[in-house]
Amino acid sequence: MSAIAAHAWLDVETAAELRALVEAPTAQARVRESWKYTPVLRGLNAVANVAATDSVVAGAPDGSLRVDVAPTASEMALLRERACACPPAAKLLLGARTIDRLNLDTSPASPLQLRALSPVRPLVVHIAPTVRATILDDVDGASAGWLLVCLDTAADLDFTRVRPSCPRDEWQQLQFDLADDAQLIARHYCRGAGLRRLDALVRLLGRNASATISGAWRVDAGDRLDQQWHVEHLAPGTRSEQRHHGIVADRGHTTFRGRIYIAPDCPGVEADLVNRNLLLDPGAVCNTKPELEILSDDVRCSHGATVGQLAAESLFYLASRGLDEATARTLLAAGFLNECIDGPGAETAAALLRTETDHD
């Protein structure tokens, strides 16, 4: 912890609170629950104290990206709130002096590509009212990364993250805040890593905001993937739909927690969550936990999770057409993930998830 210096831009109380979280990480119940299947110390260690590199966004309109800038008071409040719930986020914020910021005030003509995400500074993206944007985030591995996207009224974001396998440990924070009528499509396609931990939060803060989230992953060769998806409905008429399909092969290990929270006085909310998992080999491990926390009347919710194997019926159907077992299994596994794959990164994602891990 010696590398963490006290920074003037954090008030004393916040710094003390964050430091307590980093130094006694499991003291809080919500931290224990969130890190039940992954050692929190490993998550903390994944936040490397490396030299700052800048976030790079290809195709960003001139002047829209500013790196190494001081956060505004409202940005600081958001980051602080988030950091207080998650030890690696607390550690990153203690170590960060500044943030990177992307302001999208007009709709970019073409998709933006996130080429690098600073491992030590949060990247905060502001999407102005009614602006439509597409962001493809296929950064090739970062040991830490914190992306916070604020969608203003009726803004529209199509976001795709694609992550190849990587032998290192990695911790990532992903947050989307949606104002009235904002719309988000978020896709998350990845392989495993030594440890790949994702803390994702989608907050539907404004009326009729909606989020469509899909995920597909394949984890093998002893890799780990731990995803925590929190979707919070904080306004009436908000909608969320999630479908996540995961394959665990070899000695892979995955954890998926999908929590839907509906705040009091939010009628008309619709929320659905599906997580399906295929275990391909006897050594594969999968933990999944869909959760609903509903504090409002007049809402419609569904959530479910399955863990299974390739269906014998399907394998026989393919065999009856001449496909040997290995080919049939490959085709069925790819099909299972394809159900969750679409959008601008679809081809890259499908190719990424088809092959076996090559780093060991």
Partner: protein
């Protein structure tokens, strides 16, 4: 050489005997129909021939184009030219019809030591067949049987058969769940395939005579309690329709 020679075939499911000595020979270019009441063993026969796991062959033999069929894995049987049109085709979400059939054609060509046709030719051929069967070509891009109606699933089986050009097709109650128009389309599809592939053999498994109005059989067999109890020409099917299985079983 006969296409398939089934000799005194006996098979059990979960220790219960279902086929109790079934004998049947199909020559190239002929259409055989097997009719029989529920529980007579019709679907068991199709599953045993295709190699579905869960069936135990307890006696008899099956030679397919001179080879010991029962010693072959299901995919080897398919590659050797045996095709089963499923009574309940399986849905494979996420795998498109096109991708599936291309993989199947490539696997079969490889097993036979042939070079598979170029992808573009396969796609053209699949579009042709789909159109003949009254299926929109978008159908080829959809997941295999995913969200298809009962009739579409059955037509998809015929599409696969036409594309893969097997030597022997077993149509397992392909008429079940079809309305009159779909029945005609399927019947026409099979007839067209037979015309284009004159040495092809067909084993039609059905409850009802009506499919035989569209696909005219050369030989009709009646299966009850795991054995063929009567064999005749097409008039046997018509007689069955009139008298029912009960009348026939009582007489024998």
């Amino acid at each position: 050489m006969s296409l398939i020679v089934i000799d005194n075939l006996q098979a059990s499911v979960n220790g219960k005997p279902i086929l109790k000595g079934l004998t049947l020979t199909i020559e190239p270019g002929t259409v055989h129909a097997i009719m029989g009441p529920n529980g007579s063993g019709k679907s068991t026969l199709s599953h045993v021939l295709a190699g579905k796991p869960g069936y135990e062959v307890t006696g008899g033999s099956v030679r397919f184009k001179g080879r010991d069929l029962l010693a072959m894995a299901p995919e080897e049987r398919a590659c050797a030219g045996l095709f089963l049109a499923f009574q309940y085709p399986v849905e494979i979400p996420g795998v498109s019809n096109m991708e599936f059939l291309r993989a199947a054609a490539e696997a079969q060509a490889k097993a036979r030591g042939e070079t598979p046709p170029p992808a573009i030719d396969m796609m053209r051929r699949l579009r042709e067949i789909a159109t003949e069967l009254g299926l929109h070509t978008d159908f080829l891009k959809r997941g295999v049987n995913e969200g298809f109606s009962g009739g579409e699933k059955k037509r998809n089986e015929i599409l696969q058969m036409t594309f893969l050009r097997p030597a022997l097709s077993i149509l397992d109650e392909t008429d079940s769940g079809l309305d009159i128009d779909a029945l005609r389309i399927v019947g026409d599809g099979v007839t067209r395939f037979l015309r284009d592939n004159p040495t092809h053999g067909v084993l039609l498994i059905t409850h009802y005579q009506r499919l035989l109005n569209h696909i005219v059989p050369d030989v009709v067999h009646v299966l009850t309690d795991g054995r063929i109890i009567e064999t005749g020409d097409r008039s046997l099917a018509l007689r069955l329709e009139e008298q029912g299985y009960v009348g026939l079983v009582d007489r024998t």
